[in-house]
Amino acid sequence: MSNFSRRKLITTGLGAAAGVSGLAVGAALLRRYGLVPPDSAGVYGPGATLTYAAQRILTRHSLAREFTPSQISKPPFANEVAPLGEAFKRLQEGAFADWRLAVDGMVARPASFSLAELKSFPRRSQITHLACEEGWSYIAEWIGVPLSHVLDLVETLPKARYIVYRSIQPGWWESIDMADALHPQTFVTYGMNGGELPVRFGGPLRLRVPRQLGYKSVKYITRLTVTDSLKRFGKGLGSASPEGGYAWYAGI
């Protein structure tokens, strides 16, 4: 009886030690390959990390499903946004002629593009699904220039790991990793369903990230910052969403 207990104790101890060291090795490997999201501290860190790591391994290059024009939702639905600020209204009065998108941070040539300049770049369109974290969704055609084209123009430095993007609306900002930033369907979007992008849907300029939920597609963007670390932005959690209790990675 005592032999059996001792054996059991030793096996359990060895098992626990193997488990703990396995977890430590796993965590080190995840960090080494950049598979840990910026909001990984805290009680929900393990789940958020597993989700982000698994998605990055499975979906790094996959393309969001595209639909036919007949599948476009009529009419599409847009969630409410906070009342638009003075800065937005001033630019709206000038028909957004003075709207600019600044690109700075870890780039060889920081730049600022007007809407007209962005529209002169290669024009792409995609008919994709936009799903809100609340549960509703719609399909629309999104027209714009791939973010990767804009990043090529300013030439991101090899150390770049994330793109931080900000709305003209105060406190509204997000970030994505390079896998999503360089993804061919991630657009700097200025058009929708064959026309201009309506203000309700983020016009004049919205970053569209079709492989993540709607809240990653920030409306009214004015600035992109290329960085190798998200520690210096806001509370260091990656974007405004984790500061408000929502996951940074929203691919699910």
């Binding site: 929900y44 499975l58 996959s62 974290e133 549960g135 399909i139 996951a247 699910i252």
Partner: protein, 239 residues
Amino acid sequence: MADSVWIPAAIAIARHSAVVRVTHWITTVCFLALLVSGVEILISHPRFYWGETGNVLTPPLFQLPIPASRSTVPTGYGYVLPDQNGWSRYLHFQAAWLAVLTGLLYAIFGLLTGHFRRNLLPARASLSRQALSIAIASHLRFRPPNEPGAWPYNVLQRFTYLLVIFVLFPFVIWTGLAMSPAIASAFPAAVIVLGGQQSARTIHFFVSVFVLLFLLVHILMVCRAGFRNRMRAMIGGHE
């Protein structure tokens, strides 16, 4: 003296192995976390659709008669519940991960040790029309099962556990993943065969309701069979 072996009464009947007990309780905790967080996520949009898309501008398949946590949803109630989606989504996915990893451990154990074959697959004798009708009749009269092959589970219990473990659990995981835009990009067929992302959400809801129904009946049957004994069997492993 040497040949007298003392067996404590408490370990006379071994019921559940350690792996079954540990995975059972981890799954229980996960399911409760998934249920609470799932309800919190659901109330942000208590409308269900069929197909790829659905929002408040499209007619729903049905709408639950409950208030919502978002003001954009027309519910007929004059108030909006507090929004709890942030932590609910974090908790939902964390509990789902733990449940899936626990389920994998259980599945490997069940295959390697013959747990599924021995304890869950119904014996051939119990599948005859006569044996089945006896089992159903005694179940309906709340009689203890005594047909052939009724230990450790009778044929109805075996079917129910097999259905929950090998049909409902995989299906709820699949329909949950099919709602993910990133998973849909990597495995579009997983969404298309369900009829679209909104169909996946609707099926996810119904499968969850079935798992909840199972839980309620499971607790009811445990109470009828003797709550203390069954809890002892699932905690300590012996009756």
